[in-house]
Chain length 297, copies 2
């Protein structure tokens, strides 16, 4: 399950709640395109902004709409006891796996981060993907900490942030982590603009924001890389650079939010406040990039 | 209300919930010592880890135990609609003011931070203290942003992080901010080890972690500074350096957690996981510092 393209859809959320019909259609679209797994309630899915009840509802909707494609559900919360409740809800909803970022308010020590994964994996009956996302959690995982956590029961994968720019550096980064974790634990890359480099360097999976709204484009890149056509994967990624530049400037969530509403896949607003959608120039740049890439048809 | 010593107590929280009896006693102790206000459910009060129901319960308990001393209640949450619910609960509980940090998961733009305060102050009937705490929120307030927010209705104070080390630099920092905000908005310092410098530089208030457990010590320092005895305030602060060093190393929350349980004011654990109390060497250092300062009797 933690291999190939894992696509992370938005959870369209206005001030009046979640638009379940739009969400179901987004998930069904991913399943129809043939993604390898669906990452429900990831960062792109806005898990951090939703209540327990909304998250349980969304997890159930995702599993139903996924039509047999494995669904990985984000269970992150600031407090361990809340994470455990969310894990229970996700499993009841039929999740094939769970995704856990160490959310922080008070900065956590390494032992506290380890303790979180220890407390949670002990209670799980599905595999867990460790979600290393310093941009949102401000936790800096060392490879040694990844190594300790990867020995825990039920760890299935590690979702790493982007890999270094040069292909050799990317390979060294993946190899260094691989040497510290059991062979059963996969490594998946995120930071979409580094995905081709990560996959070409040996990552098993791409945890993809782009794939949550544009699954065919993300699948083409993933398959090229996983089938050994490294140059083709790199070229596909280079072609997407106008979009990657917008991801880096505005955050991939806001760009996909604008794209999804432009394509009519969701209403507006589709992000919960205090987050705001892009407007003015930024919005026009997203639309122009999608047009240039043929992603609006 | 946003002047003098504002004392921030712990909310003793074990795996089975909040210890209301211990909390009530902590708050009553602050009121009896004569603090100027009580900061319930601040960062030290673990607001980010509690449910809406727990926070409403804690706010009510604080107002009751404060016996007429103004209570400022923390209403921070990741989502604006949740902040609005918490503001309503705090006001119903009898809060004299509210404290709002721009919690983040997705990094926020300046306009999003401003929009949060705009959306919330519009609905308030008590004054709000803007809580600038980059260590937990990772939001970097510019003085220009503070200036924009301070023009909104119902803004009563700004809680700034520590001031620069040299007294002149501290004065410049406070003066620069003061020039951009209305005269009705007070400035309060936090980062306890910089409190004497901040008060001596003209801050109106000390938003104090130390004061939440050791109100008499914090009051002596506050009164010296506010009465113009700057040298005495600086000396009192210098005497507390062993404790400040531990605050900087372990976080003030963990140090006050260890102190409160050592003094028998709370059971253990008193922090919600994934946070862990200090143990071993760190715990012994806290006890030794308290002993040396005469704070254990």
């Amino acid at each position: 399950m933690f291999r190939g393209l894992s696509a992370f859809p938005l959870t369209p959320t206005g001030e009046h709640g979640i638009d379940t019909a739009a969400y179901t259609a987004l998930v069904a679209r991913l399943a129809a395109a043939g993604v390898d797994s669906i990452g429900a309630l990831g960062s792109t899915g806005g898990y951090a902004y939703l209540t327990r009840e909304q998250r349980a509802h969304t997890a159930r909707a995702a599993v139903e709409a996924a039509d047999g494609v494995p669904v990985v559900v984000g269970i992150g919360a600031l407090r361990t006891s809340h994470v455990l409740e969310l894990a229970e809800d996700a499993q009841k909803a039929g999740a094939s796996g769970v995704l856990l970022a160490p959310m922080t308010y008070q900065p956590l020590t390494e032992d506290e981060v380890f303790g979180l994964y220890e407390d949670v994996t002990r209670e799980l009956s599905v595999p867990l993907c460790v979600y290393d996302n310093p941009g949102t959690t401000h936790v800096r995982f060392t490879d040694e900490l990844h190594g300790r956590i990867a020995q825990l029961p039920n760890i299935g994968s590690i979702k790493i942030p982007g890999v270094p720019e040069d292909p050799r550096g990317a390979e060294r980064r993946v190899d260094a982590l691989r040497a510290l974790i059991p062979g059963t634990v996969t490594i998946g890359v995120s930071g979409d603009w580094t995905a081709a480099r990560g996959l070409n360097a040996g990552c098993d999976a791409w945890y993809s924001v782009l794939g949550g709204t544009f699954p065919r484009t993300a699948l083409a890149l993933t398959r090229a890389a996983r089938d050994g056509r490294a140059g083709e994967a790199a070229e596909l990624s280079a072609g997407l650079e106008p979009l990657w530049a917008l991801f880096r400037r505005h955050g991939s969530l806001r760009v996909m939010s604008a794209a999804a509403s432009h394509l009519g896949l969701t209403d507006e607003p589709n992000l919960p406040r205090p987050l705001r959608g892009l407007d003015g120039t930024a919005r026009r740049e997203v639309v122009a990039a999608l047009d240039a890439l043929g992603l609006t048809s």
